[in-house]
């Protein structure tokens, strides 16, 4: 490299660093051993920005959003009038009683997580309150908005935290994938029932104001442009088909306008109406290591937070010109939310369990096994126990991960896991890429063959495993395909018996808590399409099915993994 070009390169690097402009291009890379934890270079300001960014994650910032439920009428409908005509109507149509009789019951059904009792708690449990320091009387993800379309009325919608916060052993963790959300199911229900309710009847039955009625009508109109599909099982997410089906209803123009035409009416049904492409959202603490997004790595360029807004709003029937304008005018909110997501840290085993639950020598043996069998795809993790004099440090320090050597460019591998999710991307990537707003955002979707082998920090609470949740715990992951559990239950995580500490995941077989069997939509059946629990076996078994690891080595490997 000549002196001139070297100078130019270093100048451009300095410039990128000083202005904190992240590289969202397809060529982006993260040097080995480094991260993009402070992606905009906020430095000492990062904790403050992160907290403000979390507020945006907790309260949906997009005020041009297409779907808002008038909050007060909904509350009135659920809580104050048990004999409400609208309730009678819905119960008759649904042929069953609504499963809840107040707002918190509805939030609970939706799987929304509880705010911590104290917003000042430290570490991974720190979650700010979006209500000026006071604990909200609603759950995480519920967003109460005033918008330009309805400035005097409060609308309810749902934010990032609905799916990107989770509960582990009763503790709420920001960035952890929600194991039991019913957000997609909520859309399915909204699509089914809301169009049946004329606006005037809604207003009279819920004592709504005229502005709230207009909000309801706008939501009803926008729902016509939403395509939704139920997940196969609780815990999975149908965002991908949701976006694809919604886009399929819109025009072919650059802004996918919401104008019905004969050609739209003549379109064949979209493949994803029936082809299962369920997956789960990824944890936020992995973002800092990655250069491409989604479980299949198909978003190869662009800020993933902007893509998240775009996908969500296509799925809410929003006008894309309005959305583009909102994005252009709200770069600060977008930046803060992006910074917060990238700065999210993975929880540590000792945040939940006592030191007596750690066998550090076993874990060190597991590290050797890991580096022989798993490092190539999942990266290398430099533990503090390998530092000089580490044994003098407290166990918490010894077991910390000092550095992660993931890939400079995030890879995609096909290890034989269920292919339906990555196959589904092909059905609508073209439509997304040609949108004007995608071009402005510089987001590019390229279908892949396989999935991203993710960084493994905090893997102990990311169960069930694989993009499609098909493997309940790491013991099952290390089994031959045919020996893995065919069914298990996607239960909650509130108490010790909800978690298998040896196998790091859901209890299976006879260890499944009895009360879990009541929830029929939580039964995970790996024999269903898109839910297969195949693949990821070559590191454990050779081609003839002979084990590559002893049971002791597997146990050591799990001990190591739980401390990542």
């Amino acid at each position: 490299m000549g002196l001139k070009s070297a100078l130019l390169l270093s100048l451009s690097l300095i410039s990128a660093l000083s202005f904190g402009k992240p590289d969202w291009s397809e060529n982006a890379s993260v040097p080995l051993g480094e991260t993009r934890e402070d992606i905009y270079g906020f430095g000492e300001d990062l904790p403050r920005v992160k907290s403000e960014g979390y507020i945006h994650a907790l309260k949906w910032p997009v005020d041009v959003t297409g779907l808002l439920v008038p909050y007060e009428p909904l509350k009135f409908f659920l809580e104050e009038e048990k004999n409400n005509p609208l309730r009678r109507f819905i119960e008759r149509v649904a042929e069953s009683q609504l499963g809840y009789t107040d707002m918190d019951g509805m939030y609970g059904w939706l799987g929304l997580n509880l705010y911590p009792e104290n917003s000042q708690v430290s570490g991974v449990f720190q979650i700010p309150y979006p209500t000026r320091g006071q604990k909200p009387d609603y759950r995480m993800g519920a967003s109460l908005l005033r918008t330009p379309h309805s400035p005097n009325s409060t609308g309810l919608t749902f934010s990032c935290a609905t799916c990107h916060s989770g509960t582990f052993l009763g503790q709420t963790v920001m960035g952890l994938t929600n194991k039991r959300p019913r957000a997609n199911e909520f859309f399915v229900m909204a699509k089914k029932y809301i169009p049946m309710i004329p606006s005037g009847f809604f207003r009279l039955a819920t004592k709504a104001s005229y502005e709230e009625k207009a909000m309801f009508k706008r939501t009803k109109d926008n729902l016509k442009w939403v395509g939704s599909v139920s997940p196969q099982v609780l815990g999975l997410d149908t965002s991908l088909p949701h976006v694809a089906l919604s886009l399929h209803k819109r025009g072919d123009d650059a802004y996918a306008s919401k104008k019905w035409s004969r050609s739209i009416g003549r379109r064949p049904r979209h493949k994803l109406e029936t082809f299962v492409a369920d997956s789960k959202p990824m944890p936020w603490w992995n973002l800092k290591y990655k250069t491409r997004w989604l479980s299949d790595g198909s978003i190869v360029a662009g800020n993933p937070i902007l893509t998240n807004f775009l996908w969500n709003e296509i799925g809410r029937g929003t006008d894309l010109k309005e959305l583009e304008k909102w994005m252009q005018e709200n770069d600060e909110a977008i930046e803060k939310l992006t910074a917060a997501a990238f700065a999210t840290k993975a929880p540590h085993w000792l945040d939940f369990f006592p030191e007596s639950s750690v066998d550090i020598e076993l874990a060190k043996r597991g590290e050797i096994v890991f580096n022989e069998s798993c490092k190539k795809c999942h990266g290398r993790y430099e533990k503090r126990w390998s530092y000089p004099m580490a044994e003098l440090e407290p166990l918490r320090v010894q077991t910390q991960t000092a550095r992660v050597f993931y890939h400079e460019k995030t890879p995609v591998k096909n290890v034989g896991t269920d292919p339906q999710r990555w196959m589904a991307t092909k059905t609508f990537s073209g439509g997304l890429n040609k949108l004007q707003i995608s071009k402005w955002m510089k987001t590019v979707v390229v279908p892949q063959e396989g999935y991203v082998p993710p960084p493994l920090e905090g893997v102990f609470l990311r169960y069930p495993y694989m993009h499609n949740n098909s493997i309940p715990n790491l013991c099952a992951l290390m089994m031959r395909e045919e020996d893995r559990p065919k069914v298990f239950i996607q239960g909650p995580s509130q108490k010790a018996s909800d978690y298998d500490r040896e196998c790091l995941g859901y209890p299976v077989g006879e260890n499944i808590p009895k009360e879990w069997h009541k929830e029929r939509d939580a039964l995970f059946d790996t024999r269903k399409p898109g839910l297969r629990n195949t693949g990821h076996t070559q590191m454990f078994y050779d081609r003839d099915g002979n084990p590559r690891m002893s049971e002791d080595e597997k146990r050591a490997l799990r001990e190591y993994l739980k401390l990542l």
Partner: protein
């Protein structure tokens, strides 16, 4: 006048009948009609304003008072109703309303063996229908005024008819879902029979009334 009037439509059957409505500025906005129908001046609804968009007693498809026809250049339009004629029409509407109330109550409570609550839900649907219809009409007027200026004239359009039918369709669907197929068929038969009777009894010079819901 009671609420039912909302569900009554004046079917404008005079040949090439055109409807005139008075909206924001009654003397200036020309609304073509065989019978002049005034829409009361109203405020833009706000969150605090829980009153209907339009004072529906006066705008449920039938006027309390005849509105004056403006000095339109189109001299061939029919004259407005006299005050006596309007009163007559009012009485007629009240009469049909009362009868329709009785018939529907009988249908719900005696024939279909439904409860008082069920009947009240129906009355609420009827009010909602009226409100939505008036609102859709108002939206249409506002748009026309925006597009064509404060003084405009128009003929009943396919869009208006479509709007009306869409809203009616929504309520009929709601009825069917709420009370079931059998109740819906009986209700539809009652409605059809009642409208046939009104048509037979109608005085053509006043147009024909129809119950929509």
């Amino acid at each position: 006048m009671k609420k039912i009037v909302a569900a009554l439509s004046l079917i404008l059957i005079l040949t090439l009948g055109v409807v005139y409505f008075f909206s924001q500025q009654p003397p200036e906005i020309l609304v073509e009609s065989d019978i002049s129908l005034p829409l009361d001046q109203e405020e833009k609804p706000t969150a605090k304003n829980k009153e209907p968009l339009v004072k529906t007693e006066d705008s449920k498809g039938a006027p309390k008072k005849a509105a004056p026809v403006s000095s339109s250049p189109k001299s061939s339009f029919p004259e407005a109703l006299s005050e006596e004629e309007v009163e007559e029409l009012d009485e007629l509407l009240a009469h049909y309303e009362e009868e329709w109330d009785k018939d529907t109550k009988n249908l719900f409570l005696n024939e279909l063996k439904l409860s008082e609550e069920d009947y009240e839900d129906y009355l609420m649907m009827r009010d909602g229908f009226e409100e939505d219809r008036v609102e859709a009409f108002q939206e249409f007027h506002n748009r026309m005024a925006q597009e064509k200026g404060s003084s405009y004239s128009y003929s009943p359009t396919a869009e208006m008819v479509e709007n009306e039918e869409r809203i009616r369709g929504e309520y009929l669907k709601l009825f069917k879902e709420r009370y079931g197929e059998e109740a819906f068929v009986k209700y539809s038969n009652l409605l059809e029979g009642y409208n046939d009777r009104i048509r037979r009894e109608a005085d053509p010079k006043h147009g024909v009334l129809r119950i929509d819901f």
